[in-house]
């Protein structure tokens, strides 16, 4: 929390740009997405930039397209918590956040792994609770993919509550006491093997935009990771989510709102715009354009020319062509929108995909980008950002060297870490021990 005197401070986190279609792996500067040196480089850069935390996403099954493993984007990544423990050895202050699914794990084991990370890092652990569940992913697990959409957050909420009971089962003085949790989702009891960790409870992050997701975050999370990257959408989301907190007896500052954003820097705004267009062309290769189209249409469109017009057939709303990605809710409406845009501007398939899937939120000179980030935070569209570079692992270097100093000059970003734990960086209160 800001002290109430100075301007509202910007929180920054670094997303390791691994598996996704925003990575420009074809760039000759693009390095390994799996070697530890890549993780070390990005984490050290984030710590040099005094960031709050380093963030790893998760996927538990390789994506498939038309029954075959998707081969166009970066795939393959290490298991998050193990990488974060190793990163704890090469960083001192940086928070270490891992995404771990609440459907395909059990509270006892995961609470123990997170508490271990909090101990081994001296209080820098965070857990991004995701809930995605589908039979496709479930095929890799004992549990299978049985969970209804409606039950996902019920399980996640009870999972988190149970984990907190475990974290509270040792007294702050270091005495171990038995625990017992008997609820609709979990019936477990015994003794937790890990003493209370430096943060008491590792920081909890929630990612997901639905009403259920927002409610879950408002009730229980410390940080919410969103996708809203325009000022208007951000303010609306911010007001909505912060408005939900009072119901749970929480203050607006108890939940930090951090959209995941991309950025492109140039010496001038014009140069950055040009570079951004070039990056979009690299991200949306001709093959990726057809794939994006197939994702909407739910049909095999491999015969279409990416430089030609959109297909005039309709999407198949029942399609199972794409697996392992978030489904498009109303493909017919999306197709209609794409067609209208393509006709109005005379765009090819690839150009249409580039136009409609753009995710570069902040493009400009370092001064322009710093001003825009500061404005988002000052006007309550966000509390900070999870930056998603498009290059591994050097994609954050320019931001730390050129934008961070400008944020510091504006007085909206720290010039040194004031505490040692992630909670202290985020200005979050210590969790009250509920013995």
């Amino acid at each position: 929390m800001s002290t109430g005197t100075g301007p509202k401070q910007v929180h920054l986190a670094a997303h390791f740009p691994g598996v996704n279609s925003t990575t420009v792996w074809a760039d000759p500067r693009s390095g390994s997405q799996i070697d530890f040196s890549s993780f070390e480089h990005l984490a050290r850069t984030a710590e040099r930039g005094l960031f709050d935390f380093f963030f790893l996403a998760e996927g538990l099954r390789l994506r498939e397209h038309n029954g075959r493993i998707h081969d166009l984007d970066v795939v393959g990544r290490p298991e998050s918590i193990t990488v974060l423990n190793a990163l704890a050895a090469v960083t001192d202050r940086l928070g270490l956040a891992g995404t771990v699914n609440a459907t395909f794990n059990e509270p006892y084991e995961l609470a123990r792994r997170l508490a271990s990370l909090d101990h081994l890092s001296g209080g820098r652990a965070a857990w991004n609770v995701v809930t995605s569940s589908d039979a496709f992913t479930g095929e890799n697990f004992r549990r299978g993919g049985y969970l209804d959409r409606a039950d996902r957050y019920t399980r996640a909420a009870e999972f988190l509550a149970t984990a907190r009971e475990l974290w509270d089962s040792w007294t702050p003085e270091g005495r171990q006491r038995p625990f017992a949790h008997h609820g609709p989702q979990f019936g477990i009891e015994g003794e937790f093997t890990v003493p209370r960790s430096p943060q008491g409870h590792p920081v909890v992050i929630q990612a997901g935009d639905s009403a259920e997701g927002r409610e879950f975050a408002a009730s229980a999370a410390d940080v919410i990771f969103t996708r809203h990257s325009t000022l208007e959408a951000g303010r609306e989301f911010y007001a909505d989510v912060k408005g939900r907190l009072a119901r749970y007896g929480r203050e607006p500052g108890d939940l930090k709102i951090m959209p995941g954003v991309t950025y492109v820097l140039g010496d001038t705004d014009a140069e950055a715009q040009e570079l951004a267009a070039e990056i979009r062309r690299q991200q949306v290769s001709p093959q990726n354009a057809i794939l994006a189209l197939e994702q909407v249409w739910g049909r095999d469109l491999s015969g279409y020319d990416p430089d030609g017009p959109l297909p005039d057939i309709d999407p198949d709303p029942e399609s199972t062509l794409v697996q392992g990605r978030v489904r498009i809710a109303d493909p017919v409406a999306v197709a209609r929108k794409w067609r209208a845009l393509s006709e109005a501007k005379g765009l090819s398939i690839r150009q249409t995909v580039i136009e409609t899937s753009g995710r570069q939120s902040f493009v400009g000179s370092p001064g322009t980008v710093a001003a825009a980030l500061a404005e988002f935070v000052a006007t309550d569209a966000a509390d900070g950002f999870i930056l998603v570079p498009h290059l591994t692992p050097g994609g954050l270097d320019g931001f730390v060297d050129r934008v961070v100093p400008l944020l510091q000059e504006r007085g909206v970003f720290r010039t040194e870490y004031s505490g040692t734990t992630l909670r202290s960086h985020l200005g979050l209160p210590e969790p009250v021990w509920k013995g």
Binding site: E79, I81, A88, E109, F141, W170, E189
Partner: protein, 349 residues
């Protein structure tokens, strides 16, 4: 035997595993933050002595941090020594377990192993609340299946699956990624893994074969089996049984190392570290064992004395390495790097 066989040495790091340490609470809240510093110091000591690997015991039922987490924390602060956490297979998900072990291999650049263990108690089952613990024989059978599916998942990405072919826009060659379609008695896994094939191909599998129930799983799946014995004859017989079992499972017994695991209090040990060196040299030279796994009664004291005294004497006799020759744990153990089981079949995903 005239042939010089390589001697392998390993040591246990978990506090509280030795008998005299049991009363001390290794993780009093105030000292938990120093667990990392303590383990790093011990690991560096062992590495300076050239040990093959370090084990770190673990259980859901005893106070202590997650062992794989501890050794991942140690990995960047060491360069050569192998890192072998205990990983239980009973209430955990095989897909997560193999991914974590493969990741330990990535962050340690080829120095990972895992010591497979089971969770036999009702108390452990109640921590998960998913099923009662099956009988011990079934637990070890299941552990074997977890070892098997792990190898399949480690192989599910062939070594050269990542191609980054700019011309065709393909990041991976999907013909080199494989569904494993594993069906076991208690679980199934589709695959492929999310983690590319780890540096060693397969991280090293260690099984404590002390208990008869674990012995067949060790013979079938272990790269390193740990045994306990009170005489060279007993050790030799156990080793022969394990190698014979490996052969019966269609394995090359030359790819299985058998190490004598012994809890040692070097203060109380008659003759001290020198006598221990004699014993190791004698049993090893006679072919009863391939090496020795020290379980120190008090790690700080005994590991130090083992490294400075016992290891030095073994080196003086030319029985133990003076420097690491290879970079991976497989190199230290003289084990070959396995080829992906899918690489020669040409089977498509």
């Amino acid at each position: 035997m005239p042939r010089t066989r390589t001697l392998h040495l390993a040591a246990e790091l978990a506090p509280g595993t030795g008998p005299s340490a049991s009363a001390a609470d290794p993780l009093a809240a105030s000292s938990a933050g120093t667990a990392a510093a303590r383990t790093v110091a011990l690991a560096r000591l062992a590495e300076a002595a050239g040990l093959d690997f370090l084990t770190h015991d673990d259980s859901f039922a005893r106070p202590g941090l997650d062992a794989l987490a501890v050794l991942a924390r140690v990995a960047p602060e060491t360069r050569s020594v192998g890192l072998v956490p205990t990983v239980t297979t009973t209430h955990t998900e095989p897909f997560h377990v193999q991914a974590a072990v493969a990741t330990l291999d990535w962050v340690s650049r080829g120095r990972a192993g895992w010591r497979i263990a089971v969770s036999p108690s009702g108390a452990e089952a109640r921590l998960f609340g998913r099923r009662p613990a099956p009988p011990t024989a079934a637990l070890w059978q299941e552990a074997g299946e977890v070892a098997e599916v792990s190898r399949k998942l480690w192989d599910s990405w062939e070594d050269d699956a990542e191609i980054r072919d700019v011309a065709t826009g393909r990041f991976v060659d999907r013909r080199k990624l494989h569904h494993v379609n594993f069906q076991g008695a208690t679980f199934s896994v589709k695959g492929p893994s999310i983690v590319p094939r780890p540096p060693q191909g397969h991280p090293v599998t260690v099984v404590d074969a002390t208990r008869p129930a674990a012995r067949d799983t060790a013979a079938h799946h272990a790269d390193v089996a740990l045994i306990r014995a009170s005489s060279a004859e007993e050790a030799a017989a156990l080793r022969a049984e394990l190698l014979q079992g490996a052969r019966a499972h269609g394995r090359d017994p030359g790819q299985l190392r058998v190490l004598l695991s012994a809890t040692v209090d070097l203060d109380a040990y008659e003759g001290g570290p020198g006598a221990l060196a004699e014993l190791i040299a004698g049993w090893h030279g006679g072919g009863a064992i391939d090496g020795f796994h020290l379980v120190p009664a008090v790690p700080e004291r005994d590991l130090d004395r083992f490294a400075s005294d016992t290891v030095t004497r073994l080196r003086d006799r030319g029985l133990f390495r003076t420097a690491y020759e290879g970079g991976t744990l497989r190199d230290h153990l003289g084990l070959t790097r396995p080829v992906s089981q899918y690489a020669t079949t040409g089977a498509h995903a």
